[in-house]
């Protein structure tokens, strides 16, 4: 390409022949636009790639490797057992329950936290006195470390604790439950605390999305006679959809991996009734010092997250991320 251009722009055939052979009109190789571009890309990407490989790709490969061994963590890896860790996991009712609980939390997060976040974001997007204060209040739980959230709620929810006292003071004593001890309730207790913690995050994300919707569109619709519901339904929500899709993605991945709050509140108990895949992994892999088995659970969890991420990218996020995550457009 560049040679052709040089010939076309050259002063004449005789003059053109010499430059084409020796190339004095072109920049030296270290200044060549392509090489320079490549060098720039390499230099800028290399640190990120090294970190990504060192802290993401290699650990995944190592975890997969460990998962084929019976390994207590002490001493060398010398007991290969093939797929026994995997087959044992899927034959363990506690693991099947952990998968069920994880899926329940994931679906409930999207189905319950989603509409709640959207509704509150729409509300907080309106102008009213105390809006900034309310936004801060709602976002505050997300800023708390999950460990603090866990400890705080385990105190609030203990029998005759703050939650029970408040309910009794409101005349709702009949609703008092053994929040952290009743196997039928404890999963939902965890879900409520998780919602308390992460609702603010969804709201802030959606608020940012709402800021990006031009006021002209909603004003024009209002002038054309659209009511508030129609404006929300036909203008705001469709334009908010890319943000909602990203929120759902983050929420599902986060829910599949949920660990810290659940571990501190209940350790997945009583009798595994609130155990998630991650708490099962910690209990049976780390606490029981069976790292080969723990690695197998980690690989299974990774597979869940990865398959979801791929499918979701392919079908839901594709139009939002076209050109950024897929091949270059144009």
């Amino acid at each position: 390409m560049s040679q052709g251009t040089a010939i076309e722009t050259g002063p004449g055939p005789a003059a053109a022949a010499a430059p084409a052979a020796a190339g004095p009109s072109r920049a030296p190789w270290w200044r060549g636009p392509r090489l320079r571009q490549n060098a720039e890309v390499t230099i800028l990407l290399a640190p990120a790639l090294v970190l990504f490989a060192g802290f993401v790709l290699i650990p995944i490969v190592i975890a997969a490797y460990y998962s084929f061994y019976n390994w207590s963590g002490y001493g060398p890896l010398n007991q290969p057992i093939g797929l026994r860790n995997y087959s044992f996991a899927f034959r363990d009712p506690a693991f099947i329950h952990a998968i069920e609980h994880t899926l329940i939390i994931t679906v409930a997060s999207v189905v319950i936290q989603g509409p709640l976040s959207i509704g509150l974001a729409l509300l907080l997007n309106r102008k009213f006195i105390g809006r900034t204060f309310l936004r801060t209040v709602i976002f505050a739980p997300y800023v708390l470390p999950p460990a603090v959230t866990g400890v705080m709620w385990s105190l609030i929810l203990q029998p005759n604790g703050f939650a029970d006292q408040v309910l009794r003071a409101l005349g709702l004593g009949g609703l008092v439950q053994l929040w952290l001890a009743d196997p039928h309730i404890v999963l939902w207790t965890n879900f409520v605390v998780l919602t308390w913690q992460y609702l603010g995050f969804g709201i802030v994300l959606l608020l940012a999305g709402l800021q990006g919707i031009p006021a002209e569109l909603t004003e024009a619709a209002a002038i054309d006679g659209a009511g508030p519901w129609q404006v929300t339904r036909r203008i705001t929500l469709p334009l908010l959809a890319p943000t909602i899709r990203i929120w759902a993605f983050i929420t599902v991945i986060g829910s599949l991996q949920v660990f810290d709050v659940v571990w501190i509140l209940t350790e997945g108990g009583p009798a595994g009734s609130s155990g998630t895949i991650a708490t099962y992994m910690y209990l049976n892999g780390v606490e029981a010092t069976d790292f080969g088995f723990g690695a197998a659970i980690a690989v299974i969890l990774f597979a869940f997250c990865f398959v979801f991420a791929l499918v979701y990218q392919r079908f839901a996020l594709r139009r939002d991320t076209r050109g950024a995550l897929t091949r270059a457009v144009g």
Partner: protein, 435 residues
């Protein structure tokens, strides 16, 4: 619009990579600082991991360090108290897999010690302790393959810690049999107390209950061989499960016991006894110090009493066997560190320090008999006196077994507590065998 999409895409990409990273989750081994020093005269720095996070034992350990450093000027010891469950279940195993484990770490002997030895990191201190280990009771529990891999600094017995003032108020006496315990429970219930507190969230306190029924229902030989073969299929263990289920039916525990932790905060089972919400608790003799750490009740030492697990007449086991164990420490690192560590352990087992550990430190029974007189707490004195007369001392099953079978047994017992049935009973029988 375009910008927002780019940002959204970046968020998506970042999230995906984070998700993958989190999913892969192979935890890094925790590390700790430790100095170097190869010859005996040069500086040696030791890191000491223990579970004495609360006073009074924390203060006793701190002054023990000062005392040792004064007589060994080349040795510096850094005290790192770590919450018990975190230390036992997570920090120590991970540290032993890493390249830089703590030089002195707490260790409860038995099958878990045997497993830790396979890491190759635990120092064999047989020759370092040979001259004095003979005078330490219970030291054989810290051996593996005939070699000394650790040294106990105190011994423990599991029994009932009860509130004498509540017993008096309700008009009940210390129960000698299970039937008496059940009738005491009923009286306490009627008076508005939680009769017995248990920290089922931690699972191992549940295991104490099942194991005591097993001690009463099974001959010692059966227990020893079952732990060795990691199988609790003998009929006497299913009798223990049935006995436990019958006892659970009497609702002896506090409301919501399945979600209660044993040692953390005023709402824990220890906190409930300390604050007088519950009348008793089946726990090891570290319980009084745990109670003091989570309560402001200054009268507690005089209010606490102790009695052994009641007798269950007509059973095949021993009526006076006790469940127990001890706190010990193991050494890691090169020769200089291991040597200094062994010297420090010898110092901890010297009569003067032993008196501090069991006296002001209130940490169970001494490993040197002469120090027993230093025990201050009347309740612990009662426990220590009974400890000497016990038919035999059985190490907690989860410690006697290697880690995984031990943890599985605890989990199976906790599941049984949650819903006693023939199904959960048979998973106790097989729990220790799962791969």
């Amino acid at each position: 619009m375009m910008n927002r999409r780019v940002v959204a895409a970046l968020v998506a990409a970042a999230t995906a990579s984070l998700a993958l990273a989190a999913c892969s989750s192979s935890g890094p081994a925790s590390s700790n600082a430790s100095g170097s020093g190869s010859s005996s005269g040069s500086k040696v720095t030791l890191t000491w991991w223990n579970n004495a996070t609360n006073q009074p034992l924390l203060g006793v350990y701190t002054s023990a360090i000062k005392g040792f450093e004064a007589s060994h000027p080349n040795v510096t010891i850094t005290n790192v108290p770590i919450q018990n469950e975190l230390l036992q279940d997570t920090k120590i195993p991970l540290a032993l897999e890493g390249s830089n484990p703590p030089n002195i770490y707490q260790q409860w002997g038995g099958g878990v010690l045997g497993q830790q030895v396979t890491s190759g990191k635990v120092a064999d201190i047989t020759s370092e302790v040979a001259s004095w280990i003979g005078s330490v009771s219970g030291a054989s529990g810290w051996q593996s393959g005939g070699k000394q891999y650790g040294v106990p600094v105190d011994l423990h017995v599991v029994g009932f810690w009860y509130r004498k003032d509540i017993f008096t108020k309700v008009g009940i006496t210390v129960p000698a049999t299970l039937a008496q315990l059940e009738s005491d429970d009923a009286r306490l219930h009627a008076a508005g107390y939680a009769p017995i507190a248990v920290g089922s969230k931690d699972r191992w306190p549940d295991a104490f209950w099942w194991e005591y029924f097993a001690l009463r229902d099974c001959p010692q030989a059966t227990i020893t061989s079952s732990i060795g073969s990691k199988s609790f299929g003998d009929a006497c263990f299913s009798k223990a499960s049935t006995d436990l289920a019958a006892f659970l039916k009497t609702s002896p525990f506090q409301a919501g016991f399945l979600g209660t932790s044993s040692q953390q905060g005023a709402g824990s089972s220890a906190g409930m006894v300390a604050s007088g919400k519950a009348a008793m608790e089946l726990q090891g003799d570290w319980d009084p110090s745990v109670m003091q750490g989570v309560s402001t009740n200054k009268d507690l030492p005089s209010q606490l009493g102790w009695f052994p697990f009641p007798q269950t007449p007509g059973s095949a086991g021993s009526q006076t066997a006790v469940l127990g164990g001890g706190d010990g420490f193991s050494c890691t690192g090169p020769q200089a560190q291991a040597q200094a560590c062994a010297q420090f352990l010898q110092y901890l087992d010297s009569p003067a320090v032993q008196q501090q550990i069991v006296g002001p430190g209130a940490s169970g029974e001494p490993v040197v008999a002469s120090a027993a007189s230093a025990i201050k707490l009347p309740a612990t004195q009662t426990a220590a006196a009974y400890f000497k007369t016990a038919a035999y001392v059985q190490l907690y099953f989860d410690t006697a077994l290697p880690t995984k079978p031990g943890q599985n047994l605890d989990t199976a017992i906790a599941n049984y507590f949650s819903a006693p049935s023939t199904g959960t009973a048979s998973s106790i029988a097989n729990s220790a065998q799962t791969p």
